[in-house]
């Protein structure tokens, strides 16, 4: 049977069953305009379900487009506010409706093209201008034009907008309150004059924001590295323009700064040694996770009294096999679990973990693509739903293992299973009639995608 015919049969069955979830999944793949109308009709005959789809991030774009063209204003407003609503629907909504309320919602949408934002009546409605000020899709030209039309709240949004041009930022710097000026000081388009003023300010917030500016000069960062405020020194350490060679060898008095140091890549051996011996466990914790840390330092951190530090080593991609093997025997299950999730975990360690009593460890084994079939087969029958779901999330799980999970009593597990690419098509087909709406929607969506290769028939 051809895919068009199968789709037709699926659509008829979904309409006959008045199932809004299967109809929603099929919408956009259906053959013929009348079938599309009938599928949409079923979805809309369940007002609450239609509203749920109109606001859902998982709603198919074609369905959102159809719902956006309905006469139901509430539904249209929800579609306008849905972050995944496609631009073509927003174009329709912009030109078709003359509603200030809807325009305010549209003005915030990230998928609005600059020319659509221009078309909104921002001159006569301050709330629309304000929403545009916060829209990162707005052009620099439009932001410049609206800059005189927005309130104090709008100025704050404008100062944070990455597209805000230097001229606007200069104006905001001159007139804004301390928080507006702070945003200007951190902005990539901030003028040199404003940045230098911020650097020399008595206000810690302004110096901190200046220290975080991606264009702050190396000399400026050097000067602020000895600032009296730890917040400013921490921002200097976080700024990628600060070279790790510039980080001081003597420990900063503030743990806040040292924690930032521990997160930096490319740390020198002396600095690593100093941080590894730090009194603050969070410093050691961040260091243990840092992939640029040497094996010797990791070996030292693997002995740490704090389990979170040892777990950091167990998660670190740079940890060598002998360290991983030692941490696999750690007394703390949370540390062993970190080892169990590692894809480079040797098979003999994974096999040994299968006897572990901790659900976290078992979930790690179940999700590990390196786990062997016999291990996954056993864990697929585990009594805990989270362990079984970890098997389902294992991208290397075989069709046979997955098939045994088709009747998992936990609906979320079946919904996740329907998304697994290795699930047999016949098993997926059986899930089309699942009692749970979420599972039927997902299974139908996946089945149709497989059938059509993702394209509309």
């Amino acid at each position: 049977m051809g895919s068009a015919r199968i789709l037709q049969d699926l659509s008829r069955a979904a309409i006959r069953a008045s199932d809004p979830f299967r109809c929603a999944a099929l919408y956009g793949y259906c053959v013929g305009r009348s079938a599309g109308k009938a599928l949409e009709g079923v979805v809309r005959s369940f007002p609450r379900v239609a509203r749920d789809f109109a606001r859902a991030g998982y709603a198919p774009a074609t369905l959102l487009d159809a719902l956006g063209r309905s006469e139901d204003r509430r539904l249209v407003s929800l579609v306008a506010g849905n972050a995944v609503t496609p631009t073509q629907t927003l174009v329709y909504l912009t030109w078709h409706y003359n509603s200030a309320e809807l325009s305010r919602v549209l003005a915030k949408h990230r998928n609005m093209r600059p020319e659509l934002l221009e078309a909104l009546p921002w001159k006569s409605d301050g709330a629309i201008a304000e929403a545009i000020a916060g829209n990162h899709g707005a052009s620099a030209e439009l932001l410049e034009r609206i800059s005189g039309a927005v309130s104090e709240t709008g100025n704050k949004l404008l100062a944070r907008n990455p597209a805000a041009p230097t001229a606007v930022l200069d104006k905001l710097w001159a007139t804004g309150d301390i928080f507006v000026r702070g945003e200007v000081a951190a902005h990539a388009n901030c003028s040199k004059t404003a940045l230098e003023e911020a650097m020399r300010s008595d206000v810690i917030l302004l110096r901190r924001k200046a220290a975080s500016n991606p264009n702050m000069s190396i000399n400026g960062l050097r000067a602020m590295a000895s600032d009296a405020a730890s917040e400013v020194r921490a921002a200097v350490v976080r700024n990628p323009r600060t070279s790790t060679c510039e980080l001081p060898t003597t420990p900063d008095a503030s743990a806040r700064v040292r924690r930032c140091e521990a997160r930096r890549g490319g740390l020198g051996a002396v600095l690593v040694d100093r941080l590894a011996a730090d009194d603050d466990s969070w410093v050691r914790r961040w260091l243990a996770r840092n992939p640029s840390v040497s094996r010797e330092a990791l070996a030292h951190l693997a002995q740490d009294k704090h389990e979170e530090v040892r777990r950091g080593v167990a998660r670190n991609p740079g940890s060598p096999p002998e360290l991983i093997a030692a941490l696999a025997r750690d007394e703390c299950a949370w540390v062993r679990a970190a080892v169990a999730y590692r894809q480079d975990c040797p098979p003999e360690l994974i096999d040994a973990f299968e006897q572990d009593s901790s659900l976290d460890v078992l979930a790690g084994v179940a999700q590990n693509p390196a786990s062997r079939v016999h291990v996954l087969t056993r864990l697929a029958g585990h009594g805990d739903k989270d362990v079984r779901r970890a098997v389902i999330r294992n991208r290397s799980a075989s069709a046979q293992v997955l098939d045994s999970l088709c009747e998992d009593p936990y609906p979320l597990n079946r919904a996740c299973l329907a998304m697994h690419p290795a699930l047999d098509s016949q098993a997926l087909k059986r899930m089309l009639d699942d009692p749970d709406a979420q599972v039927r929607f997902t299974a139908t969506q996946q089945y149709v995608r497989r059938l059509t290769g993702g394209s509309v028939v």
Binding site: P47, R48, R51, R55, T153, K156, A159, R160, F179, V180, G182, E183, L205, K209, K385, E407, P409, Y410, P411, D434, P435
Partner: protein
């Protein structure tokens, strides 16, 4: 020994909703119906007892509601149990917990049940009265907010634990027959298997009317109720403060509020 478990399909509100034109309830267009969370736990209590004493205990879900309430009974039966009971006719519209309690008591008498379990409350109206009203009508011993139940079907009493204020727990022995309302967390309710869901569709549901239970029209609905909803409305916004501004500004204000609350300001 029969254990009746009172269940209810409760109304869950949509994110945004409207009040019905008569101002006495939410517009049904914005409602979704699902099994009351507490009832999942009380049904699990009954099922576990029925599984522990398979030849001695029968668990029966019972509900008062229109046809859509059958979905709640089927959901229970998908996990276990062999039959369910629904009580309804149009005269029951507008019934308060007292009337529902009378109906449950009538079913308990008809079934010669030894125990009635109900959720501590229903999440939609939160009266927390139905179970106790049934107990009053039956004249049985009753305990509310039960967090553990140990029952031997041969014994004349059951052992019960309750959680009290301040983390105190109380253990009681209760004479049977009895009515108990069950608290969340007493167990971990199971999920129904797909086979169970299919089988539940074929399990018998008995539908009874108030008159079949011996209640006259004057004893049910608004006429038989001791309380009536006069008005339902969304109150004016309270003192919540929406913290606005840049992230730094929001953090500053949040710190101020915390200091105020701690008395440091």
């Amino acid at each position: 020994m029969k254990i009746l478990v009172a269940i209810k399909l409760v109304a869950a509100l949509d994110e945004d909703f409207e009040i019905r034109e008569d101002g006495c309830d939410a517009d049904p267009d914005y409602l979704d119906y699902q099994l009351n969370e507490w009832d999942d736990y009380s049904w699990e209590v009954a099922l576990q007892l029925a599984e522990k004493f398979p030849d001695k205990i029968e668990a029966i879900p019972v509900t008062v509601g229109p046809e859509r309430a059958e979905a709640g009974l089927r959901k229970c039966l998908a996990k276990g149990g062999e039959r369910g009971i629904r009580v309804w006719d149009e005269s029951l519209e507008g019934s308060d917990p007292m009337v529902i309690g009378h109906l449950l008591a009538a079913v308990a008498k008809r079934e010669q049940a030894t125990m009635v379990l109900a959720g501590t409350l229903a999440s939609d109206h939160a009266y927390a009265q139905t179970g106790m009203c049934a107990a009053a009508e039956l004249g049985w011993a009753h305990i509310a907010v039960v967090s553990r139940l140990d029952l031997d079907p041969e014994a004349s009493e059951a052992n019960v634990r309750r959680e009290l204020e301040g983390g105190i727990e109380e253990e009681l022995a209760i004479q049977l027959p009895a009515v108990m309302t069950i608290q969340l967390g007493i167990n971990e309710p199971r999920y129904a298997s797909l086979r169970g869901i299919k089988q539940a569709k074929a399990k018998p549901l008995e539908t009874l009317t108030p008159s079949e239970l011996g209640l006259s029209p004057q004893e049910v609905g608004e006429a038989g109720s001791l309380s009536q909803v006069r008005r339902m409305y969304i109150p004016e916004k309270g003192q919540a403060e929406l913290i606005e501004g840049t992230p730094a500004e929001q953090a500053t204000r949040l710190a101020e509020i915390i200091k105020e609350l701690r008395g440091d300001a």
